[in-house]
Symmetry: C2
Subunit: 325 residues, 2 copies
C-alpha cells in the first residue's frame, strides 16, 4: 500500500520511520508547505510542495496528515478528504464532534474513507476507556498522563518574555496512581492527579522571579497545578531534555457480583521514548486498516472505535486465530 | 436484548451477575444439564433443563455457553450454533483453529452468528497482543499470568490419591516482570516467568512427602516450574482460599526510529477479585456487539479480533465520540 505524508515535522518523521518497519507499506512522497528544496527527508523519500498534492491522487492509497490540531487540521483534513483517503491525529477532545462532521461530509463527496483522532490519546487510550467501561459498567475511569513532555505547555512557557527555550514535563502524582491501582476509587481534583515540572532557559538579565510567577499563575496551563520551575542553561536543556518522551496510564476500577463484592482493575500503560514516533506507528497501523475497509467499500469518516482490530494486523485472520488469540 | 445462559457453574453465575449491571439486557433463562429443580439461580431467573433449550429459540437473541473447554465446548458450541447465536469462552489456545472451523460451519447452516474464545485470555489479552504488535512491529511480546488461582492446576492436584482439596496460585516472577517493564527484552524460560504455589488439604494418614513429590514432578502442570507446596487444614483452605482471583499482564516492548534508538513499552494489566465474574462481564459486553452485528446481517463465526469496539458499548457513536474519544 502506498502512503503519503502531508506535513513534515516531528510527527511526519515519526510516520516516515514507522513505514520502514512495515514491509507491506511504502511512501509515495512527503508534502510540505515549506520550500521543498529546504527539506530533506530522513530516508530519502522525495519531498514535494503541498500545493501539488492533487497530482498524486492516483499514487496514494492513504494520506497521513501530520499537522497541528489548533489551526491546521480543522481546515486541511476536510479539504484533503475530498480527494484522498486520509488519517489525522486531531487531539482537541472538545472539538472532535464538529471535526468529525466536517471530515465526514467532505469524505462522502467523492466516496473516500477517513479516520480522525488516531494516536494514543485520543487513540489507544480512548480504545481502552471504551473496552473497560463496556466490560465494567459499574466503575470509575482514571487517566494519568506522563511522565512526559507536553509540547503545548512547553510552547506556552516559550511565549513568555525573556524565555529562550523551555521543556515542560507532566508528572502523575504517585500517591493518586497507587491509590487507584490498589482498588480505591477516590475523587481526584486536577491538582491531585498531576504536577508540572518546567525546565526554562532565560535571557541574560531577565527577571527570573517574574518569569516563574508568570508560569505558575498562567490560567488553564499551570494555575490549577503544583508547578515547579527550574532555570537551567541552554547546554543543559540540549543535553538532558532533547527527547520527547511521554506515556501514561488509563485505569478503570469496577465492581461485580450480587452485592458489588468483587473489585476489578483494568489498566493500560504506555512508556514511550518518543511520543511522535509512537504516534506515527499508531497512524501507520490504522492506515493499513483503513485501506482494507476502503477496498471493502466502506466510506465516510471513522474513528478508532469503528475499526475491527484484525484489520490493523499484517497477519491473516487464520494466522491471528492460530498465533495471537 | 434477551440472553440465555447454558451451563450454570461459576462462569454461568458470573454472566448472571453481569447481565444485572447492563440495563439493555435481560435473561430469558438458565439451562442446566443437572436436574433443574436442584438448581437455584442467584437472581431468581428461571432454570430449565438443557434438553428443552430449542423451545426457547425465539426468546433468546444470544446464548452464552458456559462450559469447559476440554470436553463440553467442542461438542456443545457447534451443536447450539445451528439454532442460536452463541458465544463461548473456549480457552484451549492450541485447538482454537479447529473449534473455529466447526462453529463457523454450524453457524452458517442457519445464518447464525457466533463468537468463540471471548474472556480475558483468550480475549482481552489477545486484543492487546494484536494492537501492540500492529503498532510496534519490531518488538517482543510477554504475557505474565497471576497472581491468581488456576482451576486446571487445582483440579490436577485434587486428582492425586490422598488429596481432599487444593488451590493452586500461578505467580509471575517479579524480577522477570520488572526487567521487561524497565525496557529489557530478555529471553525467558517457562521457569523464569512463573512460579506455582499449592495449598493442599490431605486425608489423615496420607503420605505428605509422596504427594508433594507427585505434584512437583507432574509433567506439563508443575515439572517445568519452581513449585512450592503448603499442606493446610480444610478450615484454612475455606477461610483464606475461597475466592477465585486472577489477572496478569500483557506487555510488548518495541523499538522505533531510524536506528531503533527509541524504546516503547505497552502494557495491559488486569487485577481481578473474581475470574468468573470478570469473564462473565466480558461475555456480556461481547453479546451486545454480536447482537448488533447480527442485526446488520453478519453471520458465521467471529473472534474478538473481528468486533469493532464501538459495538461493545451501550453508548451511541455520537456519545462515544463526544465523551470517550
Amino acid at each position: 500500500m502506498r502512503l503519503g505524508i502531508y506535513g513534515y515535522g516531528n510527527l511526519g518523521r515519526g510516520v516516515e520511520c514507522a513505514v520502514r518497519q512495515n514491509p507491506d507499506m511504502e511512501l509515495t512522497g512527503i508534502f510540505t508547505r515549506r520550500n521543498p528544496e529546504s527539506v530533506k527527508s530522513l530516508t530519502g523519500i522525495p519531498v514535494y510542495p503541498a500545493d501539488k498534492i492533487r497530482e498524486y491522487r492516483d499514487k496514494i492509497d492513504i494520506l497521513i496528515i501530520c499537522g497541528g490540531s489548533a489551526t491546521d487540521l480543522p481546515v486541511i483534513s476536510p479539504e484533503l478528504a475530498r480527494d484522498f483517503n486520509i488519517i489525522d491525529s486531531f487531539d482537541t477532545h472538545a472539538h472532535i464532534p464538529e471535526h468529525f462532521e466536517r471530515v465526514n461530509a467532505a469524505a462522502l463527496e467523492n466516496n473516500h474513507i477517513a479516520l480522525i483522532s488516531a494516536g494514543w490519546d485520543p487513540g489507544m487510550f480512548s480504545l481502552n476507556r471504551l473496552y473497560a467501561s463496556a466490560i465494567l459498567p459499574d466503575g470509575k475511569d482514571y487517566t494519568f498522563w506522563g511522565r512526559g513532555v507536553s509540547q503545548g505547555h512547553s510552547d506556552a512557557i516559550r511565549r513568555i518574555d525573556g524565555v529562550l527555550d523551555a521543556r515542560q514535563y507532566t508528572v502523575p502524582v504517585p500517591d493518586a496512581l497507587e491509590a487507584v491501582q490498589s482498588g480505591e476509587t477516590p475523587e481526584l481534583s486536577t491538582r491531585q492527579k498531576h504536577t508540572r515540572e518546567c525546565y526554562v532557559v532565560i535571557k541574560d538579565g531577565a527577571d527570573q522571579a517574574e518569569i516563574e510567577r508568570k508560569i505558575k499563575t498562567m490560567p488553564d496551563y499551570f494555575a490549577d497545578y503544583d508547578t515547579t520551575v527550574y532555570f537551567i542553561s541552554m547546554e543543559e536543556l540540549r543535553e538532558k531534555h532533547a527527547g520527547l518522551p511521554h506515556g501514561g496510564t488509563v485505569l478503570r476500577s469496577g465492581a461485580t457480583g450480587l452485592n458489588r463484592e468483587n473489585r476489578h482493575i483494568i489498566s493500560y500503560n504506555l512508556k514511550l521514548d518518543s511520543n511522535p514516533e509512537f504516534t506515527g506507528s499508531v497512524l501507520a497501523a490504522f492506515a493499513r486498516a483503513l485501506r482494507r475497509m476502503y477496498q471493502r467499500g466502506v466510506t465516510g469518516c471513522k474513528t478508532v472505535f469503528d475499526i475491527a482490530p484484525a484489520d490493523l494486523s499484517p497477519l491473516s485472520p487464520e494466522e491471528l486465530r492460530a498465533h495471537m488469540l
